[in-house]
């Protein structure tokens, strides 16, 4: 299958020259289309020294459809939904903008850059975006609080195959 060929190459590319602050593991050896990524927040970002789990799921039609990338670790960020399975607003990854020639390294670097420079003008969390623009101090305080609450210690991924179902399960568990 051509998608797994490409994914293998992407994985090789990512592991031979790993982008800074990023490490990749495969939760299952038999399934190359699900990646677990640990992203250490760059020192210049407000999220330092948090470690964030990111789940990359490659669709069957990859590379003709974009990979689905979600934050497994909660993060207080204008462009990432404030939930266990945070969706990322990254124009690169939108179906309408996706290019089959885009490398995963590029995507991961864009995500890391998003931690350094949130884009409040294209937000997923409007309230956080407003706060980021108008009350930066409050925002930073809240973001650090999230880091110390969720992004410390061992990064946890939801160890169920479907990322979405797993996220909901964990959220329900937290609520109870």
């Amino acid at each position: 299958m051509s998608s797994s060929k490409r994914i293998t190459k992407e994985l090789t590319d990512c592991t031979t020259t790993p982008p800074p602050n990023i490490s990749i593991t495969l939760p299952s050896d038999s399934n190359i289309s699900l990646w677990h990524i640990t992203l250490s927040a760059p020192a210049e970002s407000v999220y330092y020294p948090g470690k964030f789990g990111i789940i990359v799921q490659f669709p069957l039609e990859y590379p003709f459809k974009p990979p689905q990338i979600t934050f497994a670790t909660r993060i207080y960020h204008p462009n990432i939904t404030n939930e266990t399975n945070g969706s990322i607003c990254l124009s690169l990854l939108k179906t309408d903008n996706w290019k089959p020639s885009t490398k995963i390294v590029t995507v991961l670097e864009a995500i890391r850059q998003l931690l350094v420079e949130p884009q409040p003008d294209d937000p997923l969390e409007t309230r956080i975006a407003e706060q980021y623009k108008n009350e930066r101090k409050e925002f930073e305080k809240e973001a650090r609080a999230y880091v110390s609450k969720y992004a410390k210690g061992q990064v946890k991924f939801n160890v169920v195959d479907g990322a979405g179902a797993a996220g909901e399960g964990q959220q329900a568990g937290r609520a109870s």
Binding site: M1, S2, K5, R6, K9, E10, T12, D13, E61, P63, F64, N97, W98, K99, P100, S101, K103
Partner: protein, 588 residues
Amino acid sequence: MYEPDPAAQFIHQVSAGYSLPQTLPEYTFDETPLRLTDRRGRGGGYGGLGGPGAGGAAGRAAAGSLLYSPIFSTPASANNAAVGPASSAAGHFNFHTTSATTASALTSSVPATTHHRSSPPHFAIGKMEPTPEDLVAQEAAAREYQPQLEGPFVGEKTPSTAIANEYAKADPIYIQKTAVLPQTYSHYRPIQGDGNCGWRAIAFGYFETLVNGGNKDQIVAERLRLEGLNSYIETQGGHSSYVYTDFVEETLFLLDRVAALIGNHEQAMAEVYSSFNDPEIANAIMYHFRLLASSYLKGNQGSYAAFVTHEGGVDGYCSSTLERHHVEIDQIGLLLLVNVLLKPVGFVLQVAYLDRSPGSEVNSYRFPEEARNQHPSTLGPMIHLLYRPDHYDLLYPAEPEPIPEPVTVQVHRVSFSPSYDIASAPVPMHSYGINIGALAMLPGFGAPPPGLAPTLLDTSPSPLSAYSPSPTSTWMTSPFAEPPQQASPVSVPPVPVPMSMPIHTAPAVAPAPPLQTHPLRFSEYCQLPEYVENDTWREPSFQTSTFRNSHFNVAHYNNPNFQPEEYRPETEDYDAPQRGSGKKRASV
């Protein structure tokens, strides 16, 4: 539950003069008043005019031009006239009652082509102002609109009369252009409109042309050339080799498979066909070609950058248009692909543009540009595309029939050159070795021999617009001069042009010159089969005095197709000058 306004119904019934069913249709509506979308595909779209469903058809037409979008196709029965409350009420009060108006309203619509992915349904506004409810309903319908993406990515070769049928109820310009299309292009191959169709069509055409060439060396050479372009993709396009190799591989593999099968044309074509209907292979090949085009642009910025209007410049254009799957090829992309893929192997691309520009046939342009002023016989193999706004299909020129005269090929190819002079058409005819002048002198000789006729038609340069009467051979120009019309019942066998449109094939008998030169008149009736079937008025051999003075004569003012005869001095010897509007004294 919606109760139709009785007043509106009344007006509709009385003023339109249509007989509606005794029991008024009951309208039941969900939240969305327009329930038309789930009926799309059934019924005749715009059809049903004049038939048993005339009432319903008129009602729908009256409901405004907003119904012209393909998604609003409705069944043709009056009982099923599922017109939304707002639009139906407005429609009933706003439309004129003659079927002529209805027909003209209908003809301004384009047919229900559902190929286009990239264009959302658009609504022609202008005949009446839609109410806010209409707009809401339209928006809802537009949101739910799913382009029809059924069928294969690349279809089977289909007689191009299907295109003419598709447009049979459309704008006269479309009718005219599609009616003559099969004469030049006998077949077409539908390409799925998923946003890749231009790329897909050219890629398929490239492989098909290679197969048709039957030259294994050429295919091997192409494989080497394309493989060699990898470094170009890397250095100019800036793509990592591991990214593009997967795409390139599929192209090269298919070339290998085709080269191995080259002795067997059928098998080789089947291989190309099945590969292009395998999404993995086809996507990869198309993306390979996209990368070639974008790399070629980046490597030739001096020549092309000026044409790139994208705000992001060449890089922005490449990443937003050329390198994105499902984004249709545009003019620059077409040029780039021709120059990087087709031109080096000597293939020529000719695109026939089917649009509403004035003219009687599609405008065609050749790529590369150098090929435009050259004689087709000096050009390499051609790939023909049919462009309809936002969509490309492949076209196949009509094969010159039995007589393998090189001259016929030339006539056919030249037919799209704008500077072509039709007056020269008779010249190649002589090469058939038939004395045309002698034939023309035969009384009642109305049509060329059956074997010859299709050839003449297929190679007809410009059947509708560029008619110029030829003094020596009236019979020969007659099939071109007149639009396809009613075949004559008493004539020699009608010219077998496969055309199932209501307007029929060329009239074969033409002893009376006056009728031959009538310009094509698209009256509203000519789309109605039952009118056409009874349409014997064009038969000039009925010109007895009894006939001429009856209302069966088109020159008689009681004829529904009344058309005053023109005074022609040269016909005076057997036809008396007419007085008044077709009301003549017997002249015999």
